[in-house]
């Protein structure tokens, strides 16, 4: 019997490798053509992809729709900006953002985890909106203007030092951070613990009868999602040099949900595909008209009606069949070679 989760994750990894390949080719082209705009746009797409990844952790694996995931993204971004304005240290900013989002995620989880389904969606929506409004009205946090003047960073990475002002270097750094986050989350869901989370999504009432705690895994799932959002959020001010309360508002959370649905719910990698697609779409449509919301809304509704599994969902089943066939062939070859019986 083949492990479906294992096959599914390997298919995701293939898609991840494809995205990496495409990304690196585009980067090579951009460097060859001396472009910085598309490099920075690509970096932004990846950062927003981290937020979308965090939404997919909750929606695709925990079965919980969060309409306020931008809260943690914003917290990460604000903490990072506050630290960087005082001490321009990459590692300190990342550590502080991680610590604060961990704490915020635990508090938010304690509140949101009391409810399920639509109540969960609405309470996460409310939490983000209220915190965003408080930030919007707090002068110490820059109020409606946000925090500006985040210095251009020099990031020491062991042997080399890269500058956040260098589009290529910062793109590669962001790509590395996303790769680490993706790998960590993908690994987490293949562990027995991750399988309990997936089981909870399938049938919450049955899991306790098998002797598992339901509250704990869901809580950890929520906090992990918050951390992913917070860590990628911390990269945002390094790219843009400022943070604004809009980062936390519903538009950001809603965008992340759109990205996940476009890319494919429950695939982890779909979030990144969706983020790249939506960011570039916005940039292209936005250069013709400021009314790009209509285009995005129409595409989004079409995706839900006619392509409910997203881009990845269309291509994934055939890839999975291919992977299974490949497994069977290698098994057969091994049995033939060693003469053992299956």
């Amino acid at each position: 019997m083949r492990d479906r989760l294992d096959i599914s994750m390997r298919a995701n990894h293939v898609f991840f490798a494809v995205l990496m390949g495409i990304g690196l080719i585009c980067v090579a082209l951009a460097v060859a053509m001396n472009d910085t705009f598309y490099l920075r746009l690509g970096t932004e797409a990846l950062i927003l992809g981290g937020l979308a990844l965090s939404v997919d952790i909750l929606l695709g694996f925990g079965g919980l729709l969060s309409l306020g995931q931008a809260l943690y993204f914003g917290i990460g971004a604000y903490v990072s900006a506050l630290v960087l304005r005082e001490v321009p240290s990459f590692w300190l900013a990342m550590a502080a953002a991680t610590g604060v989002t961990l704490l915020a995620g635990i508090i938010g989880g304690l509140i949101a985890n009391r409810v399920r389904g639509v109540y969960f969606a609405l309470i996460t929506f409310g939490m983000a909106q209220v915190v965003a409004k408080v930030v919007y009205n707090t002068r110490e946090l820059g109020a409606s203007d946000g925090l500006i003047g985040v210095p251009v960073l020099e990031i020491p990475l062991g042997v080399i030092t890269v500058s956040a002002g260098d589009p290529l270097a910062f793109f590669l750094l962001t790509l590395s951070v996303l790769t680490i986050l993706y790998a960590a989350v993908a690994y987490l869901f293949t562990t027995p613990f991750g399988r309990v989370v997936i089981a909870l999504k399938a049938n919450e009432k049955r899991v306790p009868f098998l002797g598992y705690n339901t509250w704990g895994p869901r809580m950890v799932c929520y906090v992990v999602a918050a951390l992913v959002a917070g860590i990628t959020g911390a990269l945002y001010p390094m790219l843009r040099g400022f943070v604004s309360p809009e980062l936390m508002f519903f538009a950001s959370s809603g965008n992340a949900v759109i990205m996940v649905v476009l890319g494919g719910v429950g695939t982890l990698i779909g979030a990144l595909y969706g983020a790249v697609l939506l960011t570039f779409l916005k940039s292209v449509v936005g250069s013709y008209t400021e009314h790009h919301l209509i285009a995005i809304g129409v595409i989004f509704i079409f995706a839900i009606l006619f392509m409910p599994k997203g881009i990845i969902g269309v291509a994934k089943p055939s890839l999975e069949r291919r992977l299974i066939r490949f497994d069977e062939q290698t098994d057969a070859a091994r049995i033939k070679a060693t003469g053992e019986r299956a």
């Binding site: 729709l65 009391r114 969606a121 409310g126 809603g254 919301l293 209509i294 989004f300 509704i301």
Partner: protein
């Protein structure tokens, strides 16, 4: 002390009541759509904005405001029926109804908001007040229009409750939402009941938009700010409960009104939200159950 009561506390509470009635009107539509169709309508705020803009546009073309109060909600009915037939029904029987219907209406909200921006521009409009001036109510001075808002809102809320709980039509609708197969086998045209219930909720949002246009400014994203409060009211009252929405609506707006006398109004939102969290701690399903289900 007497003067504080007369000139500060009482007007503040009455203004809070006017806001509360308005929020209840918006929340009623949300809660009816959820209670009867099991759908969270994320585009509800945009329907509310459409009502306000409809009133604005028609009054600019010279129509009487009092006609608009009846006309604009009627114009919302086809919009509601089309949305239910061609968007919600398509995903209604899918695997995860709550999430997909929520997402579809969210997408619709994006489109509607941008259409409003294209038609009316992003700026804020201020329609003329049909009842200018203030009324002296037992020594408490309050803008006349707000008094009218409280009165008509109360009438609408009572009428809606009466229709849902005390008439044959309401019984049919509740039966269809409780067990649609059973209702269908008794001859109820369930498809029309669902369209009608959704259109009814949208109509209420439109009505709230018309009524509130003279009090609050009209702008394309006006629904977004208001909808958070309406959602909070619906959650505290219990999704799908009409009385829950009424009680929670009045309670929360009074908390907001009175607390903003003592502290900065900026913190009123977090306090209201804090009340919601507290309620959810002890009653995750809200204060009251769902209509047709309890």
């Amino acid at each position: 002390m007497e003067s504080y009561l007369h000139y500060v506390l009482a007007p503040q509470m009455l203004n809070g009541l006017a806001l509360g009635i308005s929020v209840i009107l918006v929340a009623l539509g949300l809660t009816i759509i959820f209670g009867l169709l099991d759908v969270i309508n994320m585009s509800h705020g945009e329907f509310y904005a459409i009502g306000a803009f409809g009133a604005l546009a028609l009054s600019l073309s010279g129509m009487n405001y009092w006609v608009l109060i009846a006309l604009v909600p009627l114009l919302m009915i086809p919009l509601g029926i089309i949305t239910e037939r061609y968007l919600i029904r398509r995903v209604y029987d899918g695997a995860d109804r709550h999430v997909t219907t929520l997402l579809v209406t969210f997408g619709l909200g994006l489109i509607l908001e941008d259409i409003l921006k294209i038609l009316f521009g992003p700026n804020t409009h201020r329609p003329a007040n049909p009842l200018p001036g203030a009324t002296d109510l037992f020594g408490i001075v309050i803008p006349t229009y707000r008094l009218f808002l409280i009165a008509i809102g109360a009438v609408v809320i009572l009428a809606v409750t009466f229709v849902v709980y005390r008439t044959r039509l309401g019984a049919i609708v509740r039966a269809a939402s409780f067990d649609r197969n059973m209702a269908a086998s008794l001859g109820v045209r369930v498809g029309w009941v669902y369209s009608g219930a959704f259109a009814f909720g949208v109509t209420l949002a439109g009505l709230a938009g018309v009524l509130l246009a003279p009090v609050y400014s009209v702008f394309p994203t006006m629904g977004r700010d208001f909808i958070l409060l309406a959602f909070t009211v619906v959650i505290v009252g219990g999704l799908g409960s009409i009385w829950g929405a009424v009680i929670a609506g009045i309670f929360l707006t009074q908390v907001q009104a009175i607390s903003s006398l003592v502290i900065s109004p900026v913190w009123a939102d977090p306090i209201v939200f804090g009340v919601m969290v507290l309620v959810l701690m002890f009653r995750p399903q809200g204060l009251f159950g769902r209509m047709g289900h309890a």
